[in-house]
């Protein structure tokens, strides 16, 4: 049986990979993938703890909510990325300096 600590460690590793991607990448889509990685690490923790909640299913239900939230976030963020690309002709987050011209 896989212990709870193992799940938490895997989640921590994925979370830090996500942080690295968000900070270092020069492409908005890769930054978005980093955010998804961090969300997935959080969902993994929810699911791992949700194993010990059979009656209320708190962990699993909120993992479902988190997945739906991630979907909504991604849709909006990709729409924003497309708009930014149309305006600036680049999706490098370092080069976008003003919010509205």
């Amino acid at each position: 049986m896989i212990s709870l600590t193992d799940f938490l460690l895997v989640g921590a590793l994925l979370f830090c990979t996500g942080i690295y991607m968000i900070v270092s990448k020069r492409n908005s889509i890769q930054v978005l993938i980093g955010i998804e990685l961090m969300l997935n690490a959080a969902i993994l923790n929810l699911v791992a703890f949700g194993k010990y909640d059979k009656l209320n299913n708190g962990g699993q239900v909120f993992a479902l909510f988190a997945i739906v939230l991630a979907a909504a976030t991604t849709a909006v963020a990709l729409a924003i990325v497309l708009n930014v690309y149309r305006r600036y002709k680049t999706i490098d987050p370092d080069e976008i300096k003003n919010l509205r011209d």
């Binding site: 460690l9 990685l37 699911v47 194993k51 993992a63 990709l78």
Partner: protein, 172 residues
């Protein structure tokens, strides 16, 4: 399974090619769905496959293709040495964060938490034999009805907002 997840996530983080990064992210998501199955959360795993792999990645690929080939060229130009000087702060940040989290996890000793022990003692632990989907459905409609409605409204708002943002300029 977790090695697949971590390895593919690291590859997605380190690869210079955007397309390769996206497709290896598929592998990470599938491996994570497998991990959810191992945590005895079948329904969450299915949802993960349907929404992430079916929805989000298709969206990302769409955005990538719509943003044109200039994006790719920019990415190709900036490749340099393997250890890029600009990435050192990011690596330091990530490693420090990892050290802190791992330290806390090892100190917490999650398998011996009081409420976890209590749950095991009260047979409140999900066993591999029993199915949880029915229980999730009942709970979703009773205990968690308010968050459920809130998230449905939020999803609708996000859809409308995304449609508004991504339409053509001029009328907006």
């Amino acid at each position: 399974m977790s090695f697949i997840a971590i390895g593919s996530a690291l590859y997605a983080a380190l690869s210079k090619n955007l397309v390769r990064s996206i497709f290896i992210f598929f592998v990470t998501l599938f491996a994570l769905a497998g991990l959810y199955v191992m945590a005895l959360a079948d329904f969450v795993a299915v949802t993960q496959v349907v929404i992430y792999v079916g929805g989000i990645l298709v969206l990302i690929l769409f955005a990538f293709m719509l943003s044109g080939r200039e994006t790719l060229n920019v990415i190709q130009q900036q490749k340099g040495k393997f250890v890029n000087m600009a990435k050192v702060p990011a690596v330091i940040l990530a490693v420090l964060f990892l050290a802190v989290i791992v330290n806390i996890i090892l100190k917490t000793d999650a398998d011996n938490l009081p409420w976890v022990k209590q749950a095991i003692a009260q047979k409140n632990e999900i066993m591999p034999a029993n199915s949880t989907i029915e229980n999730i459905g009942v709970n979703l409609m009773t205990t968690y009805l308010l968050p459920f409605e809130a998230i449905s409204v939020l999803l609708l708002m996000a859809l409308v907002g995304a449609a508004h943002l991504s339409r053509k300029e001029g009328r907006a």
